[in-house]
Amino acid sequence: MVVNSFSFLLFFIVVFTVYYMPGIRQHAVRQNAWLLLTSYFFYSFVAWKMLPILLGVTIVFYWLGAQIKKEMDINNRKKASRYMRIGIVIGIGLLLYFKYLNFFAESVASLFNQIGLSVSWSTLNIILPVGVSFFTFKLISYVVEIKRKKTAPAENFLEFATYISFFPTISSGPIDRPNTFLVQLRNAHLFDYSKAFDGCQQILWGIFTKVVIADNLASVTSIAWSDYQDQSSTFLIFAILLSPIQVYADFDGYTNMAIGVGKILGFDITKNFDHPLLARNVSEYWNRWHISLTSWITDYVFTPLCLKFRDYAYHGIMMAITANLILIGLWHGANWTYAVFGIFHSILFIPIIYSGELGKNRKIKENKYGLPLVKDFFRMILTYIIIGIGHIIFFAKDTYSAFEYIHHIFTGSWEFVRPIGFSTIAFMLLLIVLEWTTRKKEYALQIHKRFTGKRTWMMLAIDYLIIAAIIWFGTFENSQFIYFQF
């Protein structure tokens, strides 16, 4: 059940109606109970076999959180640390089992085969672990934050279970933190017209980028990644240049829909993107891309590693960044390509770190015509191309194919191809222009604060144009979100 589907719409109408019914809307507990019930239903719909595991770990982590708080209160840090470590081990164990076990089995088997030992290792038939990367990160964050005294434990089990399984974000994030989300479950949510309207605008924009831009570009890039041997060099280069926009429009589209759904129910879900197409180097890119994941890794992996390596100055930061990026890569799944992807990006950090530029958040300035500075503009283009090249590794089925892809670019034919229609090109350009002009907004279609509540005819016209574009140019074949598989 993807968010932009008819079945989701039906599901959401039911959720919405009951959630704001008199007798329910005045009580946080009843609203939470309804959200939990529907979230579990939603989750069973995509992966019913995983439901007992989700419920099981929720109970265990709720208990661990309470134990950590109890031990910290009597200043028994050792015991508190032990409970936190148990949580981290369980979390990592879940990830290893569901995402990486087959990968290790295959890698070990192929190693044995290479040294001449024949091993036939039947890979385990592990069920598709939808959402496991996302809810596990929430669980780990919960125990670590309580240990670091940055958040109080959930007030009751219902509150915690609703936080972990919250249906708008369980399948592909964003990964909300306990300190910002749990408090939102403590009060009842009355229907807020302007917030719900804002949410609807955001969903509309999300659907537009997903079905009009991402899905139309996907037809080009998916052919290039899987069938590169039969394509011309021009086509392969096109795919590299289209992929950053495609992946962004896909994942940002999903995220806007999830955040919008949250807003209709009265929630503020954490943001995931901050105009990554405007990044002037890879460091800025990682600060603007999949923020809820990168900030998680920064807080729980990068900062502790940096503290450990703090005597080694730039080398220490370099080590921490490399470890981080490999981890971010492997978070996407068990394949060496993701590790190579991480290494590729960490190499790009070398000049930034050793020149002392890292962490200096220079503001993006505009010239007197309201355009980016020429120097910044070229840096944005260069960064964009580098991200596209990185995608060759990211989307390759193995590292060998990635190198072969590049080899093909240099040996293939240079016949001219126009892989996408003029309308898609126009919409891509529109997205790029909006990325710049609406860079201070949460999403492009967001109405300026002073318009809230007062719907101007202009806005209405734009909304209708967007809806028309979705119907006219959208792709509605069985499309899936790229990030659904992670």
Partner: protein
């Protein structure tokens, strides 16, 4: 060492590392209040503070600080 003496030293370090002369630290100050104070400059600050006060914090301590006041408590506890 008195609390205000520690603050004098800290202000100097923060202004120097973060390159911002307007910094005036208080007990309640957090990284959210100072734009230049990021996860990276945080590490640099700690290295400089440890040098200036000739001490070594544990990672656990550092990760539990909620604001500058708690950091000063850690320094005073030595």
């Amino acid at each position: 060492m008195e609390r205000n003496e520690i603050y004098d030293k800290l202000n100097e370090i923060f202004r120097d590392i973060l390159d911002n002369d307007e910094i005036e630290l208080q007990d309640e100050t957090t990284a959210n209040d100072i734009e230049e104070w990021t996860s990276l400059t945080h590490i640099q600050l700690i290295v400089e503070i440890e040098k200036a006060f000739n001490l070594r914090f544990t990672s656990e301590e550092i990760l539990e600080w909620k604001n500058v006041g708690e950091m000063v408590d850690s320094i005073l506890a030595r």
